[in-house]
């Protein structure tokens, strides 16, 4: 697989150029999105779900490239915690992404793919594009903005910068400020991509070669950070892969090695390496306090939304302490906020997996 081709789905071309945090403009901008459930006549039931680093708009429908169910299929759907019988759920591919929204693989004005000419974007820029999309859809208020991980950062950015839009904000396994450890892992991923000769300074589109090896390593490293030691030990331990003894070579002797290689390789069939660079860069830059004069509480001065913040006890990538800091800032502004650290064995990925307590919290919060 050389270059990931985005399938044609629903999308909107924004009427105005997007003014970016870097000072640059992006135009034209396409935002690809999916919706689930009917929009009420008074438009009071719109819920925006924001996706994580490697996610996309297919939150609850079959992914067109992998054929797998949506990434939050267990959470979004008829009768599920984010109930599409009740809510009109919208999920958009972030700009910089590769599933139909404008990103580094999109055509620039000269008809060639942007590659590294694509401007560096921020989480706020991703949200800016979604706000413009909502305006095009005629939606001024959101019943809720919801996201896990990078999706949670978008939900926070929305509440801080467009305080009149969300009435409820649900943030799972996220942070208001990206800490050094996470920036470090993101840099490892980017360097793996850029060290791959097939990356060709980002101009690999149409060359028949793509930095699949580099992207694969980036994904493998990141994937480890999404799991917990407990779940790795439980799932793989030191078990060998399809063999009785160690090979005394460098094949994937261990099941965990084989699993990671598979995760890395399959990621390259659905994700563009340059998108990975831009999206992780946006995350590294994320600091909601810095955006608001250095005091996190000031970011939430204007919001009237209710917040619900959830962390997981085994998530060492976005540990509970980060959520707590966010909650303290929200307390300081007198915001209605709930916070709970749930117990789940799966590390950061817990928000995507079978954690019934999360289902209860999500549906309870949305019933407020």
């Amino acid at each position: 697989m050389a270059t990931v081709q985005a399938p044609a789905g629903r999308s909107i071309v924004l009427p105005e150029p997007l003014q970016l945090d870097s000072g640059q403009q992006l135009a034209p901008v396409t935002v690809a999105f999916e919706t689930y459930g009917e929009l009420a006549a008074d438009k009071s039931n719109a819920v925006l779900v924001c996706h994580a680093t490697s996610g996309d708009q297919y939150v609850a429908s079959v992914h067109p490239l992998t054929g797998k169910p949506g990434w939050w299929d267990r959470m979004v759907g008829p009768g599920k915690p984010i109930d599409t019988n009740r809510f009109h759920v919208i999920c958009a591919n972030v700009i910089g992404g590769c599933m139909g929204s404008t990103g580094p693989a999109s055509q620039a004005a000269d008809g060639q793919p942007y590659g590294m000419r694509f401007p560096v974007i921020t989480i706020r820029d991703m949200v800016r594009a979604q706000v413009a999309m909502l305006a095009e859809l005629g939606i001024e208020r959101l019943y809720a903005a919801i996201g896990g991980s990078m999706g949670g950062m978008q939900a926070l950015s929305l509440a801080a910068n467009w305080p009149d839009i969300p009435e409820r904000v649900l943030v799972v396994g996220a942070t208001a400020t990206m800490p050094a450890q996470n920036i470090a892992f993101q840099e490892v991923g980017r360097q793996a991509i850029m060290a791959d000769p097939s990356w060709q300074a980002g101009d690999y589109y149409g060359t028949g070669k793509a930095p699949d090896a580099g992207l694969s390593v980036a994904r493998m490293a990141a994937h480890i950070t999404y799991l917990s030691e407990e779940s790795l030990t439980e799932k793989f331990g030191r078990r060998l892969q399809d063999r009785q003894a160690k090979s005394f070579g460098f094949d994937a002797d261990f099941q965990i090695e084989s699993y990671l290689r598979y995760q890395g390789l399959s990621f390259t069939t659905r994700f563009d390496a340059n998108s990975y660079l831009y999206i992780t860069r946006a995350m590294s830059y994320f600091d909601l306090a810095e955006e608001h004069g250095g005091r996190l509480a000031d970011a939430f001065e204007k919001t009237r939304a209710r917040f619900c913040v959830v962390s997981f006890d085994t998530d060492w990538l976005y540990p509970t302490e980060l959520s707590r800091r966010l909650v303290h800032a929200l307390n300081a502004t007198g915001t209605a906020v709930s916070f709970v650290e749930l117990s789940a064995p799966y590390g950061h990925d817990s928000f995507l997996l079978d954690v019934p307590a999360l289902d209860r919290v999500v549906s309870g919060f949305l019933n407020q």
Binding site: N331, S338, V361
Partner: protein
């Protein structure tokens, strides 16, 4: 509010309608839900146990998982009309500082606690010579969460020393109210409404 525990029912009956309330150690949120549904209060909770918090959120309450000893400092002064600490003071590491924090974040505070001065407790210690295990203090000394036992007289002494005013007080024996007379001897449980 008949389903409420008697001490919570007294608190619920004496919270002004439409107040902003913080219940510290709110448990399953039963008092908060009553204050919200029956008195129109703007209610917030703090609770240390994750399952209880999840249950509260599922009831539509705004509750944060936190610790009275550590997390009250993050609320601004006078954020609430009432701060409520029911059956929790004796479990905190520094009850005096928690009490000060209650009256910093709240204009008034309800504090309820089991009275270690109750005659059964005194007798158990006097005759048995062992730390009492009673209906309100049902757990042995080595595993009880109650690490700072106090009597009604102790509480009165603390608030007097700190310049805190007792607006009202209620005393319970079992589920029944008892008078303030000799309460330190007769009451199993006390509820104070205090302010600065």
């Amino acid at each position: 509010m008949s389903q409420l525990r008697p001490d919570l029912a007294i608190i619920a009956d004496h919270v002004e309608p439409d107040s902003r309330v913080l219940d510290i150690g709110c448990g399953d949120g039963v008092l908060l839900a009553a204050l919200r549904d029956q008195r129109g209060c703007n209610v917030h909770g703090m609770e240390i146990d994750a399952e209880n918090v999840a249950g509260c959120v599922a009831k539509g309450l705004s509750v944060i998982q936190g610790d009275a000893d550590k997390d009250l400092v993050f609320y601004p002064d006078d954020s609430f009309d009432y701060a409520i600490l029911s059956q929790t003071l004796q479990t905190t590491k520094r009850p005096d500082m928690v009490l000060e924090e209650l009256l910093r974040v709240g204009r008034r505070a309800f504090v309820s606690f089991p009275n270690f001065g109750h005659w059964r407790v005194r007798l158990a210690l006097l005759w048995g010579g062992r730390m009492p295990v009673t209906r309100l203090l049902p757990v042995a000394w080595y595993e009880t969460p109650n690490i700072h036992h106090l009597t009604i007289t102790d509480f009165r002494a603390l608030v007097a020393e700190r310049g805190i005013r007792v607006e009202q007080a209620w005393f319970l024996v079992g589920d029944k109210r008892t008078s303030a007379a000799a309460a330190n001897f007769r009451a199993e449980h006390a509820i104070f409404l205090v302010s600065r």
